[in-house]
Structures are given as C-alpha cells and as structure tokens.
C-alpha cells in the first residue's frame, strides 16, 4: 500500500536552471525510504519541496505528489498541507533561539489543538504536562529540566530528540528527515537512528530519509533512491543497491563509502557510464 507517491517532480531556479528533473518515487506505510547522493544532487530540495519549504528563488516547475491517496502537490501549487512533518540537519538552529523548549512545544500543541478542534480549548498547564510526556517518549530522562532550557543550552543530539518529539506530536503519516544525524557524534547518531526506527515501529508511519551517508542508509532503510545531478539513478531495495548495484554512479558511491575503489571503475576512468 503506497503512502507517498511522487511523479515527475522537477525543481527549477528563477533563472531556469534545473535542480531536480523528473523525479518519481514512493514510500509505503511503515517503510523507511532513503534518498542518497552527494551535496548538490537535489535530494534536500526534493525533501523541502514536499512541504512547500523551498527557499526564495527556487520552485517546483512540474510534477505531482499524493499522500494517502490525496493529491497535495500539483506542479508549482501546493494544494494543501500534507499530513507530514520534517526534521532537519543542524537541530540547534532549527529551534527558535529566544524561546525555551517548553514554550516551543506548548506553541506547537496549542496550534495543533486549534486546528484539530476549533472550539476545544485546553489549558496551558495541561499542555505543559503533555509537552513533558512527549519529551519522555523520545527518551529524554529529565523532561522538566529540558523544558526550561533554551536550545543553545542543550546538545545537538538533545535538540534533535526535541525536534523528533515535535514532529511526532503532530501525528503525521509521513516523516521527512533531512540529514538528521549529520554533525552529531557517532554514539548520538546511533541513538537518533534507533529513535527513528522505534517511531516507525510504534506509529506505523512512513519515513523519507535524506542522507549522504551510505552507512546510515544501509542501517535504516528498506529501499533507497540514489540521486546524482538532480536525477534518480537507481531506486531499489537496499540489498539490491548495496550488493547488486546496476548504476555506475551507485558503485562509485559505495566504493567511496567503503574507501576501496572498485578496480574496474578506476581502470575505466568513466564516472557516469
């Protein structure tokens, strides 16, 4: 059962340069799909476009996307907000530096309450408790203390947990993760990946996981799309991509990841095949 379907997505700059060309992929319920590629390959733009978060001067020029059978993206128009949330690279910058964590969570909960039920008003004290519960659910031991802190007083890993807690709070059917572990310590990275895996298992949501790191992709994803220069070069199960790569660029990427160049590639000298 397909949860997210993207067909023919193209992203352009104002000057007409193509950043992503004719991209199609899908995510099933309870599945983690990776997008892997080097920086500038268009993977982050793809992720941002699904939530209408493209930066100034960049826009979707063609393509469409559906979530749970509902069309939400039609070319340059975002028809509706998909029931999806996103976590980002550099979690500390992704949180408002002048608001305590508690205030940011309460702000989200108030917003969610209002959009879910226009006349149901809940008290702020109640939201504070729910915020604490949310933090516990992402493995934060001392929620009360964290709620009173500002983002710059917390570690990157802790802030990413907070972001995940916020992303889950909205009860999305799809979670988009853009390099969520890049820049974190290896041990913290493993914890965050574990948390994402647990979240998928618990809530049965789909995840679109963007990364440049083949190792992370291999640990987490069921299927993976390999992107290069704005195009998907290969989209298949993780086992196939890792053990029977069909594309020359995929092989090169795998070689770079394992730091062992494949002999025939070096001899051949051609990169893109």
């Amino acid at each position: 059962m397909s949860l997210l379907t993207v067909r023919g997505l193209s992203i352009q700059t104002r000057t007409g340069a193509g950043l992503v060309r004719d991209l199609s992929l899908d995510v099933r319920e309870g599945e983690v799909v990776g997008i892997v590629g080097e920086s500038g390959s268009g993977k982050t733009m793809t992720a941002l476009s699904l939530l209408g978060l493209l930066p100034d001067g960049v826009h979707v020029s063609a393509g469409e996307a559906e979530l749970s059978g509902q069309r939400f993206l039609d070319g340059p128009r975002l028809l509706m907000r998909p029931n999806a949330t996103m976590i980002f690279q550099n979690p500390t910058a992704a949180l408002n530096p002048t608001m305590r964590i508690g205030a940011q969570l309460v702000r989200l909960l108030r917003f969610l309450d209002r959009s879910a039920d226009s006349n149901g008003r809940r008290r702020n004290g109640d939201r504070h408790d729910r915020a604490a519960a949310l933090l516990s659910s992402v493995g934060i031991d001392d929620p009360a203390a964290v709620l009173g802190r500002y983002p710059h007083q917390l570690s990157g890993g802790m802030n990413q947990r907070v972001m995940i807690a916020m992303a889950i709070a909205a009860r999305p059917s799809l979670l988009i993760a853009d390099e969520p572990t890049t820049g974190l310590d290896v041990t913290v990275q493993a914890q965050i990946l574990g948390l994402i895996r647990a979240t998928v298992a618990e809530h049965g949501i789909g995840v679109l996981f963007v990364s440049h790191d083949m190792g992370v992709i291999a640990q987490l994803c069921q299927r993976v799309a390999v992107m290069y220069d704005g195009e998907i070069r290969e989209f298949a199960g993780v086992d196939d991509v890792f053990h029977r790569p069909r594309d020359g660029y995929t092989r090169e990427l795998l070689a770079a990841a394992s730091d062992q160049p494949l002999p025939e590639e070096v001899a051949d000298g051609t990169r893109t095949g």
Binding site: T13, T15, A17, L19, G40, S41, G42, G57, V58, G230
Partner: protein, 282 residues
C-alpha cells in the same frame, strides 16, 4: 553539474540585485555631479559675488531667479551653488581626514596591541560617550566660531567610529596566516601595520567614510545653523537656512527651502553611493 548550476543561480541573484541597486547609484552620481558642476560653473559665469545685494528683496522663484531672492536682494540660486562647493568639498575633506586618521589609529592600535590599544580604546570610549553633534558643538564653541574649527570638530566627532571599525577589522586580518608569514620573514611591527594590516582592513572603513561624508555635511550645516560654523554673509546651506528663518515665518519660504533641499539631495546621494559601494565590495 548541479553544483555548477546552483553557483550560477547564486551569481544570477547577485547580478540581479546589483542591477536593482544600480539605477539608484546612477541617479546619485548624476545628482552629485550636477550639483558639483553647477557649484563650479554658476559662480564663475554669474559675474558677481554670492554676497552681492543687487536685486529687489524677497522675489519669489521665477525664470530669472529660479530659487528667488532673499531679504537682502541676493540670488538664492547663486548662493546655493556657491555654497555647494564649500559643503561638498567639506564633506569629502572631512570624510578623507576621518578615514585616514581613523584607520591609521585603528590599524596601529590593533597591530601593537597592549598598552597603546588600551589607551586608544579608553580614549574612543570617552569620545563616544557624547552624542556626535554635541561633541562637535562644544569643541567649536570652545575653539571659536569659525568654519575651520567646525570642520575640525566634525572630524574629531567621527574619528572614534572609524578607529573602532578599522581596529575590529584589523584584528581579524592580524590573525590571518599571511601576517604571521610576514612577521616570520622579519618585517617590523610598523611594516606589518602599514604594508599588510592597513590595506587589508581598508574596505569597510572606505564604505563607512562615504556615509561619514553624508553625516558630515548634515552636522556641519547644523553647526553653521547654530551660528558656530560659517558666518553670515558667507554662503553655506546651514547658515543660509538660519538667515532664512525670519523670512520663513513672514511667509517667504524660498530663502530657507532651497538650501535645505540641496542638503537633502547631496547627503542622500552620498548615502546611496555608500550603500552601493557596500554591496559592490562585499
């Protein structure tokens, strides 16, 4: 390819921004150039001095007297143009003086550090403890009511700003690798300061000094308006406005209106050019 494309897009953005900024800069240069040329040509061809009282008093603007005449029967247009030379030259002179003195002190302070730096910083602290115009006002009042003293006072009021700016930029430069290389190759501290630190930390002070020219024109005119700068009957925009206050209250707006308009056009042009330089050099 994608990387190259993204780069091209960025460059496209910068180019379009520059294109957006350009018309304003062109207009600013044109306005400033026109005023400057008229300031040189008009008094030369007018045949009479800017203080000559040869017409009927308080004639409103007309073809013969585009800016009208003042209470003493002097042509306001001629006086405005005669004043342009003084005001623009003064704005530029102050800006250059501030730039040279300020960046020199700033670079020396940053290069030598320690004692000299501490003294310079405390001195700028104290000078910056006064609002600029008040400092210039009390200096001029103490030195004597004279345009030269007013100009010196304006320079003193703005130097601390440039010292601070150059110093902070120079400190960034000082820690750069090529300075260490110069030191290792045996250059003296003075040589390092003059040959390396100063030129490389010059960019921001240069932009800033364009803005200083704009502020200096405003402050100098204010000092003249308050009676401590250029003295009547000499033509200077601020002094002309002060002379026109009485006419203005009696219903003749032109003797004070046009000098103020000249200040506005000139100061605005310097501001726009400063913004444009800022974007160009960044």
């Amino acid at each position: 390819m994608a990387v190259v494309d993204a780069g091209a897009d960025l460059r496209g953005n910068v180019v379009s921004r520059l294109r957006m900024g350009n018309p304003a800069a062109v207009v600013a240069f044109a306005v400033l150039g026109t005023i400057l040329v008229l300031g040189i040509v008009v008094p030369m061809v007018a045949g009479s001095g800017s203080v000559a009282q040869e017409y009927q008093g308080l004639l409103p603007p007309s073809l013969e007297h585009p800016f009208g005449t003042d209470r003493y029967g002097r042509d306001v247009f001629l006086r405005c143009m005669a004043a342009a030379r003084i005001d623009i030259a003064l704005g530029l002179a102050v800006a250059i003086a501030v730039l040279v003195i300020g960046s020199l002190i700033g670079a020396i302070s940053a290069t030598f550090g320690r004692g000299i730096d501490a003294v310079v910083m405390r001195a700028t602290d104290v000078l910056l403890a006064f609002p600029g115009v008040v400092l210039a006002l009390v200096i001029t009042a103490s030195l004597g009511k004279n345009p030269w003293y007013a100009a010196i006072a304006v320079v003193i009021a703005f130097v601390p700003l440039l010292v601070r700016l150059t110093r902070s930029k120079a400190l960034e430069v000082r820690s750069a690798d090529y300075i260490a290389a110069a030191r290792l190759s045996g250059a003296s501290t003075w040589q390092v300061a003059v040959q390396h630190v100063l030129p490389n930390s010059f960019k921001y002070p240069l932009v800033q000094s364009t803005l200083v020219a704009s502020w200096a024109i405003l402050d100098f005119a204010a000092l003249s308006f308050l009676g401590v700068g250029v003295q009547p009957p000499d033509a200077e925009w601020g002094a002309m406005i002060a002379e026109g206050v009485g006419d203005n209250l009696l219903g003749s707006w032109w003797p004070s209106f046009f000098p103020g308009l000249m200040i506005l056009l000139t100061a605005a042009s310097f501001q726009v050019i400063g913004d444009w330089l800022d974007r160009r050099l960044r």
